[in-house]
Symmetry: C2
Subunit: 198 residues, 2 copies
DNA sequence: CGATTCTTTGAAAACAGTCAATCTGTGTGG
DNA sequence: CCACACAGATTGACTGTTTTCAAAGAATCG
């Protein structure tokens, strides 16, 4: 359980035994069943979440009842609702598990205290944020300038393992196209236009 | 010139005389004429930029020669190419001035030193980053889930002053629609369908 | 097996992009 | 001051893409 987190974190940033112990002392491990909600729209996001096993998804429920998927968070990734966590305001989004999952949770105050008292952890956190920022910026560019095919291709090359693990209609939602369109895009690639002859 | 920056920064975060002096000692003020490039694709983004006056724009030049606008940066905003600045890799984007502008520049090493030596400045910087992250996340949601009308409306309410200052084809580029479509959207709002009668 | 969820397909309608032409306003040089 | 060029905005006609709706075909799970 927590050992998995230790293995991950020590691989990416050097932490002392004491620092690890401190992190562990404030952490809570939680198992989630498929479909279980971890954060519901309207609640304040109280935790910073690290995914040990499984797969989470952040999504927004629109007025007409449709779900818009903002992000997939597989094992060894951090997750939380950024806006709600930072401002301690009611979240507009939901987080749930797409597979049976295991996560580590830290209460916001505890986690911020950890960042303040473990400088190297703060640096690591800042690096993660910077990377996410770059990624999300590229996603914007994709969204406003690429064709649906290109968006799908970019997804395939960026997240091949996610593609294998989630239903296609969720990929469609993440890309901002209808599931029917995604289905047709995929089919067109396998079986492109046949009439190249006269 | 630099006094404008001091006025801004002291309004948003408390800095001592010494800290201000330190920031000033490493800053460089630069005037830009309309259309002048501040960062060109392929160069490494060496500076953190604060816009004193005028309006900058970050954009990507696509293979087919079209420009995709990623961001507008008016006075009192920070700007730089995130990815290139953080990783010191060649930038994929360009930054230029849409109006005659004035900016303050800090070399990356200098600025990072400032953040390290002025904790309150680091906090402020982190807050800005968090806010931008939230905003960009909402932009993603817009892009993947809203109609063109809704995207335009959101732009109007979020950036009314930018709308007045840039040509519409740039707004179209920012939103990811063609300039003709934007023109029709705007016209439809002024003059909606007239046949509501029998 | 039966129920549910997911995916695919077809046909029609809505929507957005492209191309070409025109219109508008602005600014420059003669 | 006018003529002209230029950048920007609009419009119409057409094309291409995407959505929507409805139905049916897979796959998965209890």
């Amino acid at each position: 359980m927590f050992e998995d987190f230790e293995a991950y974190i020590t691989a990416v940033t050097p932490l002392s035994k004491d620092e690890l112990q401190l992190m562990r002392s404030l952490a809570r491990v939680k198992k989630l069943r498929r479909r279980q909600l971890l954060l519901q729209e309207g609640e304040v996001c109280r935790y910073k979440i690290f995914v040990l096993k499984g797969l989470l998804r952040n999504y927004r429920l629109k007025d007409d009842g449709t779900e818009v998927i903002l992000r997939f968070a597989p094992e060894n990734s951090w997750n939380f609702d950024h806006e709600s966590y930072n401002n301690q305001t009611p979240s507009k989004n939901n987080i749930d598990a797409l597979e049976d999952s295991e996560v580590v949770l830290w209460l916001r105050d505890d986690f911020e205290m950890l960042l303040a008292s473990i400088p190297i952890m703060k640096e690591y956190s800042d690096r993660i944020k910077a990377t996410s920022f770059d990624a999300i910026q590229e996603r914007i560019l994709m969204n406003i300038s690429a064709t649906s095919e290109e968006k799908y291709q970019a997804f395939v090359t960026a997240f091949p393992e996610i593609l294998r693990r989630v239903p296609l209609h969720m990929v469609a939602s993440y890309l901002g196209v209808s599931r029917e369109t995604l289905s047709r895009i995929r089919h067109a690639q396998v079986n492109p236009t046949k009439n190249n002859g006269i």
